[in-house]
Symmetry: C2
Subunit: 258 residues, 2 copies
């Protein structure tokens, strides 16, 4: 049993891990979850991912009705193996829960989208500090003014996550992360929150604020919370997602052969 | 006006070019076309492409009802700007026509998939001969025993195209083509037709047979005719495609930034 599978089945499933998953199972690809009812909205979302690969790099789409992503996570059940879920109704967050067995639509389509936590292991190996992990915090996430390409009824702006990175390590950070195109790739912006329409870097819309030291620069990556923002902006009747920062850990190697 | 646009609007649209498009407009990305009615079948096909990026690298999906791929080919109309189309009904080729204005479903979804003709220009620049162009022939295409990953109701095997390449240039051919992941990338097989279940290399299912000289080796690339084979095997009620070898020439650079 891989350490990722152990984490899913023996730690997350019995609700023994109730924190965000940044820093967890380094070397394994982590994913965002979006579950929609079958039909036009599922088509629109699949097309949205196709048109916005930077924020929505699709790793897997389950067969209709199935919560089992067998190809990328043997033994996993998407209804129980994520630490925290968000239920959206008519474009609003309705509640957060630790499993979604009672909410999973019979004719569902589950989408898994690569997460930037996937390269945390390689960043740490390269000596780039992860302040959110050091401080035991979730990462901060923000709405931006970067428009996504719309698809059918779905439209809205990109959400980004932020890491403070030491100024001297920015180049190395870009070199490493830009290889992970299946997990948002290199930063969409470096250094200026204003450039992408973020008004107050200390007030993220999701996750927790993190201090930026004098020798550090904020680095912004496209984020798999983008779909949640899009689903809200587009007033989608019903959706299940992971809660921001609480990811699904797959058995895929985080580098996926890059 | 780009040479690609001139070719579409002033040559193909008035039916002045009735041959395959191999060797045409070098430097511009060429695409396969699949048009399906909106609904479950369009979702299944979009998922099929997502799951089979080697044979179906999606370049663009038009909005529902639209035959205008504005982002990749300004001024183009997908109903007239391809030299030859195939109409499929209930899994069988019904007819071939030079425009599809009368057949285009009102609630259509048009998919454009990268074509390996896109790297022909770079191969020629590198001194790798294109025998099909030299001999004024379509390329040969074959069904293989390589199973695609199924998606909903769609399942079947990969179709490949074949080029005879001089033995001494195989390495260069792989180096060049493997960069074009948006146009099927490197070969799926080199040298043995038998290895991928092709019984008679002189009897392609689509296109025309091409002689292989003693100093040449057959090289097989995933082909955008795969969807046509899948649509037939899956007995899809209705579809419009390009005819094999008669591609849509876009305004995108063939290398797409690789």
């Amino acid at each position: 049993m891989s350490s990722a599978r152990y984490f899913r089945e023996c730690v997350v499933r019995p609700n023994l891990h109730t924190k965000p998953t940044n820093g967890v199972c380094p070397g394994y690809l982590q994913c965002n979850l979006v579950v929609l009812p079958q039909g036009q909205i599922a088509f629109d979302f699949l097309l949205f991912c196709q048109r916005n690969p930077k924020s929505c790099p699709l790793i897997e789409v389950c067969d209709v009705g199935s919560p089992y992503p067998t190809g990328i996570a043997p033994g996993a059940d998407l209804r129980t193996d994520i630490p925290k879920y968000s239920i959206y109704r008519h474009g609003k967050l309705d509640k957060e829960v630790t499993d979604v067995i009672d909410y999973w639509p019979k004719e569902s389509v589950a989408f898994l989208i690569g997460c930037s936590f996937s390269y945390d292991g390689e960043l740490m190996d390269a000596g780039i500090p992860l302040k959110s992990v050091q401080q035991n915090k979730n990462v901060p996430m923000y709405k931006t003014n970067l428009k996504c390409r719309s698809a059918g009824s779905l439209k809205g702006n990109m959400v980004v996550s932020m890491k403070p990175i030491p100024s001297l390590q920015i180049s190395k950070h870009v070199e490493i992360t830009s290889k992970y195109t299946h997990a948002h790739g290199g930063p969409v912006a470096v250094g200026s929150a204003e450039a992408i329409g973020i008004k107050d870097i200390n007030k993220p819309e999701w996750g927790e604020a993190i201090d930026i030291a004098n020798d550090e620069v904020p680095v912004f990556h496209a984020c798999g919370v983008t779909p949640q923002s899009i689903l809200m902006d587009s007033k989608v009747p019903f959706a299940i997602t992971h809660s921001a920062g609480y990811m699904f850990v797959t058995d895929l190697p985080s580098r996926m052969g890059v």
